[in-house]
């Protein structure tokens, strides 16, 4: 009896050891997330040609993503001006005081000076999954003589018709070398993917195009913080007694004077009273 039990025990222990090894392997795989190898992706993926141009790095810490084209826009109230200095210390010094007086001929303007706080994204989480309402249209020949708008219009017309297997188009987007179309009815999207191949009139030609499922992305989280623009100050509550050009000149003169706490001014823009302004910032190239 005990011999049989021993056997059972042994085989169970062997099984456990095998299971533990397998679990460890899977946990290891989970810890090193990879972008799927090409063979596993069932839908056509547009090709983007890239080249090695000499940029290398040693060591394991490779950032997986590149962030570019940063643009930050900050609304400005009417009756304000934004002054940007070469030296951030000048801006910092001016910000120590909230109230300032600007000399004009025999009197002065009382204004306020504030820092500019710009929103920046510090962390982004994006997940993606196949979107049953959207399809990817690909296979466009090079040298198509159509503008982006014209191409999108023609595709929306073609794929909007039930006789072509299509239906109401809700969204459309030009991507690199391909187009995304979103349909009101997901059955239309699925049907189009099943048909797969279409001959679509684009201008003078009938072009063979391919329709496949679209994987779309969604922001799960985007953490934001406010970063101060170090070289600039916002001048507010400027009394409305001068026209824009006069105001511009007076502010420029005032803020260049070291005796008044100013310094070399890189840029100065005035937002006249009764108007709104939008200040645009980008990241300074490192």
């Amino acid at each position: 009896m005990s011999v049989t039990l021993q056997n059972v025990l042994c085989s169970l222990q062997e099984e456990q050891s095998r299971l533990k090894t397998k679990l460890q392997e899977l946990q290891q795989q989970k810890r090193t997330p990879l972008i799927s190898p090409k063979e596993e992706i069932p839908f056509p993926v547009p090709e983007v040609p890239l080249a090695f141009q000499g940029r290398i790095q040693q060591g394991r810490q490779v950032p997986k993503f590149l962030v570019s084209n940063l643009k930050i826009c900050c609304p400005l109230p009417g009756g304000s001006a934004i002054v940007t200095f070469d030296d951030p210390k000048v801006a910092d010094q001016l910000l120590q005081q909230k109230e300032h007086k600007i000399d004009i001929e025999e009197c002065w303007l009382r204004v306020q000076i504030q820092p500019l706080e710009l929103p920046v994204v510090t962390n982004i989480q994006v997940s993606s999954q196949p979107d049953s309402h959207r399809v990817l249209v690909s296979g466009f020949p090079s040298g198509l003589q159509l503008s982006e708008e014209e191409l999108l219009d023609k595709l929306e017309i073609f794929f909007g018709k039930a006789k072509n297997g299509g239906g109401d188009v809700e969204t459309r987007e030009m991507l690199q070398g391909t187009v995304m179309l979103g349909f009101a009815d997901e059955k239309v999207a699925q049907n189009l993917c099943q048909i797969g191949q279409f001959r679509v009139p684009l201008g003078r030609q009938q072009v063979p195009l391919r329709v496949s499922p679209y994987v779309s992305g969604e922001i799960q989280q985007a953490k934001i913080k406010f970063q101060q623009a170090l070289h600039s100050v916002l001048v507010t509550n400027i009394p409305d007694i001068l026209d824009a050009q006069e105001l511009h000149d007076i502010l420029a003169i005032h803020f260049q004077k070291p005796t008044r706490g100013g310094g070399e001014v890189e840029a100065l823009s005035v937002v006249p009273s009764g108007q709104q302004g939008l200040a645009v910032f980008t990241s300074s190239s490192s």
Partner: protein, 303 residues
């Protein structure tokens, strides 16, 4: 024989106890194995769905900000939001292993020709080295645009007590938020959700939102009591132009076969460059060469 002797040494009671212990142990191991199998199934399912989905979690490093320009207009909806937008794209790279090199040609046709020819013999200082040319295997990547808009006219309010009926609460919110002594301003509309105890307040003027958000909470008066509700920015987050792409290398070629070369990497790169510049060798104008003779290098692929 030994088994008999062993059996004679064990009393029947000990025999039963040992059996019971074994049975207990067996049940425990069976339970553990079942648990392990469940863990394995769960992980396999997760890995399977991970493979289909790209999960991106990235910290974005801080950068210095530079002023560009000011646009002015009489009235524009864009001017009621602060916004931040940027492009994110997968960094495509290849790890050059020891004994490998990457060579980028000016022209695609030259690169393709070098790959088609396959084997090349490059003169090194001491002896010729046989290298093989391959296409560079690159990954699938993803790219998209992120747009984040922070409203200057709307705020989120949470923690609104459920004491009064919906209509009355809406009125109380409007009354409290228009009091300028508390930092409020004229209210354009109130969007109140009784179930979640939250609301979106839209002000007539931009700038009121900023003032209120300087503090984390705001006084809400309901009948004779004063509550403090939480205020947070009204933020819209949006992705555009999300696309998966397959990176391919048309001008860069992978060379293998340098494992036994014991020279300075820079010298080897020069010799490779010289060899592949010659049309007679099937080459052409060379842009860049990088080889690894010791430590691997991560090589970035760019537009």
């Amino acid at each position: 024989m030994d088994a008999d002797t062993d059996n004679k040494k064990h009393s029947p009671e000990k025999e039963v106890m040992k059996t019971e212990q074994n049975e207990g142990l067996i049940h425990e191991i069976m339970r553990e194995n079942l648990h392990l199998e469940q863990e394995i199934k769960k992980l396999e399912a997760e890995l399977c769905s991970d493979a289909r989905e790209f999960q991106i979690k990235e910290n974005i490093p801080e950068r210095n900000l530079k002023f560009i320009s000011v646009e002015s207009s009489e009235h524009d909806d864009r001017f009621s939001n602060s916004c931040c937008s940027f492009q994110v794209s997968s960094q495509i790279s290849y790890e050059i292993q020891k004994g490998q090199a990457l060579i980028t040609f000016e022209k695609e046709e030259v690169a393709q020709n070098v790959i088609t020819m396959g084997k090349h013999v490059v003169q090194m200082e001491k002896a010729p080295v046989k290298v093989t040319a391959h296409p560079v295997p690159l990954n699938i990547g993803v790219k998209f645009q992120v747009h984040v808009n922070i409203s200057k006219m709307k705020i989120n309010v949470t923690g609104i007590p459920d004491e009064l009926p919906e209509e009355q609460t809406r009125d109380k919110l409007e009354l409290s938020f228009c009091k300028s002594k508390n930092g409020g301003g004229e209210v354009e509309s109130v969007d109140y959700d009784k179930k979640s105890g939250s609301a979106v307040i839209t002000f007539v003027e931009a700038g009121v939102a900023d003032k209120i958000l300087k503090k984390k909470d705001y006084p809400l008066n309901m009948n004779s009591k004063c509550y403090r509700v939480t205020v947070t920015p009204f933020i819209e987050r949006r992705l555009e132009k999300y696309q998966v792409f397959s990176a391919i290398s048309k001008r860069t070629v992978l060379l293998t076969g340098l494992e036994d070369v014991w020279m300075d990497e820079e010298i080897v790169e020069d010799l490779i460059s010289i060899h592949f510049q010659r049309k007679n060798n099937g080459g052409g104008e060379v842009d860049v060469v990088k080889c690894s003779l010791d430590q691997p290098y991560i090589a970035y692929f760019e537009d």
